[in-house]
């Protein structure tokens, strides 16, 4: 019998944290990925007669990963009881929901089609009166089989599949993929490549965080705030288009180099526009702070304490708002985040208010970071050869929603397997946890305070 579980426990004891888990078809294997600072480690366990030991008791954050590996690759996890379906939708209600019994307990089904302009996903609330006892989230309505479809593609061509996973994380996912492939090919980043990618990652964060502030305003019914920040989101996307030709920065990330050209005029104009955006966002934020009826809705709602955030594997702004000072940007030597320090709010209580304030703090931080990165023109560049090649490459990049892991397994110049575990994927189980104990009408607000993507979780 393998020492898989003992090895996992030893890594956890040594300060490594769980970063993802996925299965391979032939030979049937399960790989478990751990991160510690900038270091990434992949553990492998052979599937024996269709079964591997579960680690979900040691690492609750691996819950979705094991269920996905079961549904998509047919691996059973011994000790994961019950192993509820996650991606498999063909089973009856009782198989994928938690049974909630008692007087007056009933279920409220929401989705997959939501009332607003929101992605598709199904939420099944177990409630008494208006109080949520438990939430079963069933996503993967948007599962397109992108990881399987990418198998056999060229290493460069695989970027298209990863890019298509999600528009809101297109740069993050692209950079994670590119870095994973570059690592497997033995390529080393150069300063201009690091700078180009960091600029694009932060531009993605700026529009995304502006959108998230707008979404929380919409979640409380504050139309003026939602409209104000939607206007700023539009300005940020127009800036993206002026700089790169695409409002969501599609097609800007490639493997082995960067084609992005920004002349002196372009970077100066970008700095001006970002300064204007910063002023307007600060003014809008001030108004939100002094809006009593808005602020009354935020504290004490959807609480995730630091201990639970760590246990459930929360990541990104959602984790930092609970006081977990982790940010993959601080451990990204391949990017231009020199001396980066994560910010956390002074009132890191892990509620809607803290998650909203976290967006604001990070927005300010990104708007300080970008002018420094845009202080000189940018020319196309290529990564350098010189490092040893390997069969597996792995990279972690901080998206606006949390750390995103991409693992690439190569078969020569072809993709054998690619696995993408995004910040949204890490945080979805945390949303379900945060909802319990709250009023059902507060759920849209709680959900928007995380503002996760469905697309890149579903793939």
């Amino acid at each position: 019998m393998s020492r898989y579980r003992e090895d996992v426990q030893a890594l956890l004891d040594d300060g490594w944290s769980f970063a993802g888990l996925y299965a391979l078809d032939s030979p049937s294997r399960v790989r478990t990925v751990f991160a510690n600072g900038a270091a990434i480690r992949v553990e492998t366990v052979e599937v024996d007669d269709g079964v591997v030991p579960s680690i979900v008791d040691l690492v609750p954050a691996a819950n979705w990963d094991e269920r996905e590996a079961h549904d998509l690759r047919g691996v059973a996890f011994d000790g994961h009881e019950p192993l509820r379906p996650l991606v498999d939708h063909d089973l009856d209600l009782a198989s994928w929901t938690v049974e909630v019994r008692g007087d007056d307990a009933y279920q409220v089904a929401v989705g997959p089609i939501h009332a607003g302009v929101i992605e598709s996903g199904h939420f099944r609330f177990h409630v008494v009166g208006e109080k949520i006892l438990h939430l079963d989230a069933r996503l993967f309505y948007k599962h397109r089989g992108l990881e399987r479809a990418a198998e056999g593609a060229s290493l460069d061509g695989g970027a298209r599949f990863v890019g298509r996973a999600c528009a809101a994380c297109a740069v993050t996912n692209g950079v994670a993929y590119a870095q994973a492939v570059e690592q497997a090919r033995g390529l080393r980043s150069v300063p201009d490549l690091a700078r180009a990618r960091t600029i694009l990652l932060e531009l993605e964060r700026v529009w995304s965080h502006l959108n998230d502030v707008s979404a929380v305003c919409a979640g409380t019914g504050l139309a003026a705030g939602a409209t104000r920040f939607a206007g700023l989101t539009q300005r940020a996307r127009r800036l993206n288009e002026r700089l790169t030709g695409h409002r969501f920065l599609f097609g800007t990330i490639e493997v082995g180099g960067s084609a992005l050209t920004l002349d002196g005029e372009a970077v100066a104009a970008a700095r001006d526009e970002l300064a204007g955006l910063g002023r307007e966002a600060a003014s809008g934020w001030r108004e939100l702070l002094f809006n009593r009826s808005f602020q009354d809705r935020l504290p004490g709602v959807g609480i995730v304490r630091a201990r639970d955030a760590r246990r459930l594997g929360a990541s990104g702004p959602a984790a930092r708002a609970s006081g977990v000072e982790q940010d993959a940007r601080a451990d990204s030597p391949e990017l231009a985040y020199d001396d980066f320090a994560p910010v956390v709010p002074t009132r890191a209580l892990g509620d809607v208010q803290a998650r909203l304030e976290q967006r604001h703090l990070e927005l300010v931080q990104s708007l300080e970071l970008l002018p420094r990165l845009l202080d000189r023109p940018l020319a196309p560049c290529a990564a350098e050869n010189g490092l040893p090649e390997s069969d597996i490459g792995a990279a972690r990049v901080e998206s606006p929603r949390g750390a995103t892991l991409c693992v690439v397994e190569r078969e020569g110049d072809r993709l054998g397997r690619v696995h993408l575990r995004t910040g949204s994927y890490a945080n979805w189980p945390v949303v379900a946890f945060a909802a319990a104990g709250n009023m059902l009408p507060d759920f849209p607000l709680i959900n928007k305070s995380f503002e996760l993507c469905y697309a890149c979780a579903d793939r």
């Binding site: 948007k142 089989g145 298209r160 003026a224 939607a230 539009q234 969501f248 001030r286 469905y454």
Partner: protein
Amino acid sequence: MLTLLRDLRRLRKSIALGRPDRGRSLAVRPVDAGSCNGCEHELILASSPYTDLQRFGIGVVASPRHADLLLVTGPVTTRMREPLLTAYAAMPEPRLVVALGDCALGCNVLGRDEDLVGPVESLLPVDARIPGCPPNPDAIAAALLELLDSRPS
């Protein structure tokens, strides 16, 4: 709050969108049938002050039962097939279907055949197509207005 509203008024003045001369409206029900979320993000901004789709009487409604038009994004995944058909069946007639974005049009779709059933026109009669990856808010607005104007009053 007053400052927020004042700033918005200034913004609207500076953008100076025209006043529509149409006395008609369109109730839209979006359905995400497996998009990358790009079309949704752009559709949200079609309501921002820069496009302000509502000034034409075009707005998003919560239920297909209240909708004139089903706005479908994504390559239509196997798991969204039934919800999409259910939403269409719930609409009152006459009803319109618009395919929004390249995936819904069946262009450059990525994914595994077993997980996809699309494009939209393979399942529903499509009245208009809005290409783009994703189409921007102004393109979405222009296409919906063209469709609105092409219909007999």
